[in-house]
Amino acid sequence: MDVKEKLKISRQKMPEQDPSVRAKNFMEVPLGFSTKTAQLEAQRCLNCKIPKCKEGCPVYVKIPEFLKLIVEGDFAAAARKIKETNALPAVCGRVCPQESQCEATCILGKKGDPVAIGRLERFVADYERENNLIKIPKKQPAKNKKVAVVGSGPSGLTVAGDLIKLGYDVTIFEALHKPGGVLIYGIPEFRLPKAIVEAEVDYLVKQGVKLKLNKVIGASRTVEDLFKRDGFDAVFLGVGAGLPRFMNIEGENLSNVYSANEYLTRINLMKAYLYPEHYTPIALGRNVTVVGGGNVTMDSARCALRTGAQKVTIVYRRAREQMPARGEEIHHAEEEGIILKLLNNPVELIGDEKGAVKKMRCIKMKLGEPDESGRKRPVPIEGSEFTLNTDLVIMGIGAGANPLLTSTMPDLELNKWGYIVADENGRTSMEGIWAGGDIVTGSATVIQAMGAGKQAAKAIDSYIKSGK
């Protein structure tokens, strides 16, 4: 097919559950490409000599190469091609902010729509899994060296996956009762089915990774114990940024005011939407307000809708272009009827006599000069306060570094926000200890956490081999 013909093909749409139907269920929203649509979409790729798309991907997925394999109809080979640099394509295809990564730099995006790289990544990974084509890779001979991975989020899973292949004896310690980190407790089922995360973890276990759940390192065991008692040769810390932030405004401790972490944990990890078959309850708001503008906010708002809210409003202090959430999620949220109240900021929560939230007082904002992040700073407009009615508030304003583990490690260097200081290979200030993912960078993305895991795995391998 020549370039002209290719350019005539328009970006393929992925079928989705109808907004009015999906707003009432927890099933996945986009339904995936058919083989035919996938091949048609993959044909749009121009196979650029210098593929710009790759530069947008934090782990340099071999994009034109895997797209070509799709065109040829060898979907399993396409999945393996992606896995050369990205172990979790079924996850990344669904949750990467493609519009600011690989698809942002795709040459086709200059004049029209970029190739739907994420959707195709998802397609081949699903194809491989659903048709049982996943092969357990060959392991290098056992090295009789033990590595402990603390935390089973994307960074920890990546380290474990890479080191088990190299012949290490790898054990993951996870504080919660299910592995996967944010992929399990944060991102909801309708965006990332838990069966996919379970399959990925299973795949590691089949290769020999040991998984110890319910182990809070720092409490159940210290990192020192891991070295001295359990005889680990190296430790990777991938504990994420699991500390909810609050705004410190009046009324934030009223009942029915949740952090997004709590709200999403109750729903995703504890399955509170299946209460009482699952024993964890959740407050059912009719008129829900979510504060923030990231993925966390969108996920909370859409969960509220699915647990029966009649009205869900997002209050965000900046403008729409500045929302950090994935474009697709904002679009989906609006389709489902979620209201965006932009350039507004809560200043106070007001409760009833029982201590449950009833109203939110907000102030209007306008955009001022750019701040450190380069985004225009929102400034309050004096005298513009107004009050919203609400019976459930979710604070989705971000997360910080959880000190539970690091406070037991006085020799570990932290930055002023409590994140672990590590170099580009994940090396920390303590010998034999690596770190990566959100606990180093602050809240970032799945693929960045995986990239950090990859670097650390390489460095751990060379450290154990050479002692450096």
């Binding site: 009762h177 809070v216 500390l243 909810p244 401790n253 009942s255 699952h278 964890t280």
Partner: protein, 277 residues
Amino acid sequence: MYEIISKTEVVPNIYELIIKAPEIAEKAKPGQFVILMIDEAGERLPFTLSDWDAKKGAITIYFLEVGLSTMTLARLDKKNISAVIGPLGKPVSAEKFGTIVLGGGCYGIGGIYPIVKALKEAGNTVITIIEARSSYLLYNKEKLRKYSDRFIVTTGDGTKGEKGKVHDVVKIMIKRKEKINRAYFIGCTFMMMNCFNETKNHDITTFVALSPIMVDGTGMCGCCRCLVDGETKFACVDGPIFEAKDIDWDILFKRNAAYSQQEAMIYQFHSCESREV
């Protein structure tokens, strides 16, 4: 899976549960708690560690049947539960402070024990006071007596020991100008607040073990937040034992009641169902 070594209804509605959890038994310190899950669909339930035995690899907790989860645990006929997580929370510091009053009510009679023992072993003069509505609801007496310089029992109906509650005894002690350097109270929020109301104006450093609703127990969700000294604290990692003078009790009561309607309904529904079969 964690093996249940034994489960005993020590007094009506209060159960002693001994579980095999060697790693926790080895690390446990007074004032800490564990989180249990009965099965995959269960809640994550926080319970105070009452005793542990590193040699046997066993931990002991006492729990009161109050709702659906504790009812399920009370009636469980399986020999194991799916998760035990811990030890969680900040331990109390067991130093020599002088004369210490330790009060326990309800599950707190079990919960106060390790603190009594540790403070006695640290060389303090230990006065232990426990309370129950009636004599048949008292338990753990011998264990507590063993580590107490004075051991006082109170009952609401006067069927054993002093008539009244822990705070009544504390009030009398203060009136008699008995020297008290520190006090620890564990029980329901109301009991702890009553006790603190007696000690607060008398230069007695008072600690209470808060029990806000929790989910993860690792500082990740913020559900257990309390207002302590004007600052938001997470009871699961910053506590659960806090100095009582700094606590905003009103918020604690209100947040603890957040799910009471839903839970009361479900509890009744399940109790009725289980009665039918």
